[in-house]
C-alpha cells in the first residue's frame, strides 16, 4: 500500500465520526420531510450546546481515567441557582443590579463557582479519600439533584432577567449565540488538551497514573483539576440551560447524562482512560442531536421513541467500534 493511500485512510478513520455525521445528516435530509433546512441545522447546533459543554468536561475526566456521573445534576443545580437568584417569578428572587451588563457576568461566575464546588467535592472524595469515582459521582448525581429539590422546594423559577436572557436570543450568522459558545469551548479545550502540558498530563495520568506519579508529575492535582473542570463546565451548561429555559425547573436536565456519555463514546473517547480527542466528541454531540431532532420530526408513536433512541445510539457507537477493525483490515 502506498504511503499516500495509507495516510488518506488513516485520516478518514481518525475522523470517522465526522464522516458519519455527514452521512447521517444527508440521509435524514433526504428521507425526513422538513429536515433539510437551515433552521433545523441551527436547532441541532443550539440543542447540542448544553450536552456539548457538559461532554467536554466529562471527556476530560474520562481521559484522565475516571468518570463523572454527576455532571447532569451539577448543571441542574447551577441552573437552579441562576434561576432562583436572577429570575423574577416562581421561586426566583429577581435580584437585579446595574449596570445591566454586569448581570450576565456575575450570574455566569456564580454558576461556574457552583459547578466548581461540586467538582471539587467529587475530587476530594475520589483523590483525597480514595473512593471509586463511579460511586462518588453516582452519589453526587443523587444528592446534588436532591439539593436542587431542597433549595427550590421542588418548584420552578421563571422569567430570567432580560439582561441575561438576551444571550439566548441573539444570533451570529443566523446561528444562535448559545451554539457559538459551545463551539468556542470546544476550540479552547481541544487546544488545551492537544497542545499544553495540562492536556498532556491528563492523557498520561489516564494511561498510567503510577508512571506519572513516579515521573514527578503531581498526578493527584491533575486528577483533581479534571474534576473541577468537569464541574465548572457542567456549571456553564447549567447557566446556558437556565438562559434557554428562561429559568429553571427542579427536573431540568434529567436524562442529559446518557446523552453526554453517548456523545463522548461515539466521539472516540475510551472509557478505559487515556484515549480520546475533543473534536471527535463535538462531532458525537452533533450526531446525537441530529438523531434527536430526526425523532422529533419523524412522527413516531411516542411509545417507541425511547427504544429507537437507545437503538440508534447503540448503532452510532457500533460504527465507532468498527473503526478499529477497519484499521486492522485496511492498513
Amino acid at each position: 500500500m502506498s504511503p499516500a493511500r495509507r495516510a488518506t485512510i488513516e485520516f478518514l478513520l481518525d475522523n470517522l465520526v465526522w464522516l458519519m455525521l455527514i452521512v447521517v445528516l444527508a440521509v435524514f435530509s433526504a428521507t425526513i420531510p422538513n429536515y433539510f433546512q437551515f433552521g433545523i441545522f441551527a436547532n441541532i447546533f443550539e440543542q447540542s450546546t448544553f450536552v456539548g459543554v457538559m461532554a467536554i468536561g466529562l471527556a476530560i475526566v474520562i481521559i484522565a481515567g475516571n468518570l463523572d456521573l454527576s455532571v447532569e445534576s451539577t448543571a441542574a443545580l447551577s441552573a437552579m441557582v441562576t434561576g432562583m437568584l436572577f429570575a423574577s417569578s416562581g421561586v426566583g428572587m429577581g435580584i437585579s443590579f446595574s449596570p445591566a451588563w454586569l448581570m450576565p457576568v456575575v450570574s455566569l461566575l456564580i454558576a461556574l463557582a457552583v459547578g466548581g464546588i461540586i467538582g471539587f467535592l467529587n475530587g476530594f472524595f475520589v483523590i483525597r479519600v480514595g473512593m471509586s469515582a463511579f460511586i462518588v459521582t453516582l452519589a453526587s448525581f443523587i444528592w446534588v439533584r436532591g439539593l436542587v429539590v431542597a433549595i427550590s422546594g421542588g418548584r420552578s423559577a421563571q422569567n430570567l432577567a432580560p439582561s441575561i436572557r438576551i444571550i439566548g436570543m441573539e444570533d451570529i450568522l443566523g446561528v444562535p449565540l448559545l451554539a457559538w459558545i459551545s463551539v468556542l469551548c470546544f476550540a479552547i479545550f481541544a487546544f488545551v488538551m492537544a497542545k499544553t502540558t495540562f492536556g498532556r498530563y491528563i492523557t498520561l495520568v489516564g494511561g498510567n497514573k503510577d508512571a506519572t506519579f513516579r515521573a514527578g508529575i503531581n498526578s493527584d492535582r491533575i486528577l483533581w483539576s479534571s474534576f473541577i473542570v468537569a464541574g465548572v463546565l457542567a456549571g456553564l451548561a447549567g447557566w446556558l440551560l437556565a438562559i434557554r429555559t428562561s429559568g429553571a425547573t427542579a427536573n431540568l436536565g434529567v436524562g442529559m447524562l446518557f446523552n453526554a456519555f453517548a456523545a463522548v463514546v461515539i466521539g472516540g473517547v475510551s472509557l478505559k482512560g487515556g484515549i480520546g480527542k475533543l473534536p471527535g466528541v463535538y462531532a458525537g454531540v452533533l450526531l446525537l442531536y441530529s438523531i434527536h431532532t430526526a425523532i422529533n420530526l419523524m412522527g413516531l408513536p411516542a411509545h417507541f421513541t425511547q427504544m429507537i433512541l437507545g437503538g440508534l445510539v447503540l448503532a452510532a457507537v457500533l460504527l465507532d467500534t468498527f473503526k478499529l477493525r477497519l484499521r486492522e483490515k485496511l492498513l
Binding site: N34, V149, R155, Q158, G247, T249, V254, N296
Partner: protein, 322 residues
C-alpha cells in the same frame, strides 16, 4: 387536640403540584387534629412499596397515598387495610382495589376540560374548530400523562379538521419540551396551539417560542395542572388557558373526611361543598370516591385565590364532615 399520626405518601417532589400538596395536606390535617408525616418516593414504585410496608408497622391513623403508579400499590393498599390502617387515595386514582376514600380531580377529566378550551380557542382564532395542535406529553411511561392524552383525544376525535401532533418530553424534562417546540415550529410553522401536560413544561415551550421570534399569542399555549408558573405565563399573555387541578380542595377533602375514615365510619354519598366547590361523593367499586371539578384558568379569572397556583392556601379552619 392530637388525634394521631397520618402518613402522606407523595410520589415525587420534582413538580410543583406535589410540593404544594405536601404543605396543603400537612396544614389542613393539622387543622383537624392530625400530625402528618410525608414520605417522598422520588418517582420510584419499589421505594413507595417499601414505605407502605414501613408505615403500616407504625400503626398510623391512616395513610394518604398518591401513588407513583396508579396500580402498582394495590397490594399494599390491601395490606394496610388488613392491618387495620385505612387508606385514602389522593390525586392519582386507583380503581383496581378497594380503598377507604378517594379525593381526585380525575386525569381523564382534565383532558376533557383541556379539549373543551382548546376547541374554543381554535374556533376563536380560525372561525371554526380546525387547525394544528402540538401536544407535548410528560413521559410515555407515565399513566398520568397518558390519561390526559386519552381524555383530550376522546373529545377531539369529533373534529377531524384538527391535526394533533403528539411528542413525549421524556421524564417530564423541560428542556426536552423546549427542543420539541423548537423543532416542530420549523417543521410545522402553521401550528396554532401547543398543549403541554404540565405548567413547568410550558416555561421551556415559551422560551423556545420567544427564541423563534414569536410574540405572546402568536402561537397559543394551553397547559394543565395550574402551577404558579402557568398562571404567570397567563398573566404575561403567553398562555391562554391553564387547566386547574383543585389542589386545595382535593387536600381539604381529605381533612374533612379524615375522622370518619380513621374511625371506620360509613361515608354518605351525595354532594359536598369543598372550599366552595360542589363535589360529588359516590360509592364505587373501589370505595367512596369524591370527584372535585377542575377548572379552566383564563386571563379573566387568573387572580382568583381559589387557584392553588396563586399559593394562597385558604385560612379558614376545615370543618370535619359530621
Amino acid at each position: 387536640q392530637d388525634k394521631g399520626k397520618i402518613y402522606y405518601m407523595v410520589p415525587t417532589l420534582l413538580d410543583e403540584f406535589q410540593t404544594e400538596s405536601v404543605s396543603a395536606i400537612e396544614s389542613f390535617m393539622g387543622q383537624v387534629g392530625y400530625e402528618v408525616e410525608t414520605l417522598n418516593a422520588d418517582n420510584k414504585t419499589d421505594v413507595q412499596q417499601g414505605q407502605m410496608d414501613t408505615a403500616i408497622l407504625t400503626n398510623p391513623k391512616a395513610i394518604i397515598l398518591a401513588a407513583v403508579d396508579f396500580n402498582a400499590l394495590a397490594p399494599y393498599i390491601d395490606k394496610a387495610r388488613e392491618a387495620g390502617v385505612p387508606v385514602m387515595i389522593f390525586d392519582r386514582q386507583i380503581t383496581s382495589t378497594e380503598s377507604d376514600f378517594t379525593s381526585v380531580a380525575g386525569t381523564v377529566e382534565i383532558g376533557h376540560v383541556a379539549a373543551g378550551e382548546i376547541q374554543r380557542l381554535l374556533e376563536e382564532k380560525n372561525g371554526e374548530v380546525k387547525g394544528k395542535v402540538l401536544q407535548v406529553l410528560g413521559d410515555p411511561g407515565d399513566p398520568y400523562t397518558l390519561d390526559i392524552q386519552k381524555g383530550f383525544e376522546e373529545l377531539m376525535a369529533d373534529y377531524p379538521d384538527v391535526e394533533i401532533i403528539t411528542k413525549p418530553a421524556m421524564q417530564w424534562e423541560a428542556s426536552n419540551a423546549g427542543s420539541i417546540v423548537a423543532d416542530q415550529l420549523l417543521a410545522n410553522p402553521d401550528i396554532d396551539l401547543i398543549f403541554v401536560h404540565a405548567a413547568h413544561l410550558a416555561v421551556a415551550a415559551v422560551a423556545s417560542l420567544e427564541s423563534a421570534g414569536k410574540q405572546p399569542g402568536d402561537v397559543m399555549l394551553v397547559s394543565s395542572n395550574g402551577a404558579p408558573v402557568g398562571l404567570d405565563l397567563i398573566r404575561q399573555g403567553w398562555e391562554q388557558v391553564e387547566v386547574e387541578q383543585p389542589l386545595y380542595a382535593q387536600a381539604a377533602a381529605l381533612a374533612m373526611f379524615a375522622d370518619k375514615v380513621a374511625n371506620g365510619e360509613e361515608l354518605e354519598p351525595g354532594m359536598y361543598e369543598v372550599l366552595g366547590l360542589e363535589s360529588e361523593l359516590t360509592i364505587e367499586d373501589w370505595g367512596p370516591d369524591l370527584k372535585i371539578p377542575g377548572a379552566a384558568i383564563t386571563p379573566e379569572n387568573v387572580d382568583e385565590a381559589r387557584f392553588w397556583g396563586n399559593l394562597k392556601a385558604p385560612e379558614g379552619p376545615i370543618e370535619p364532615v359530621k
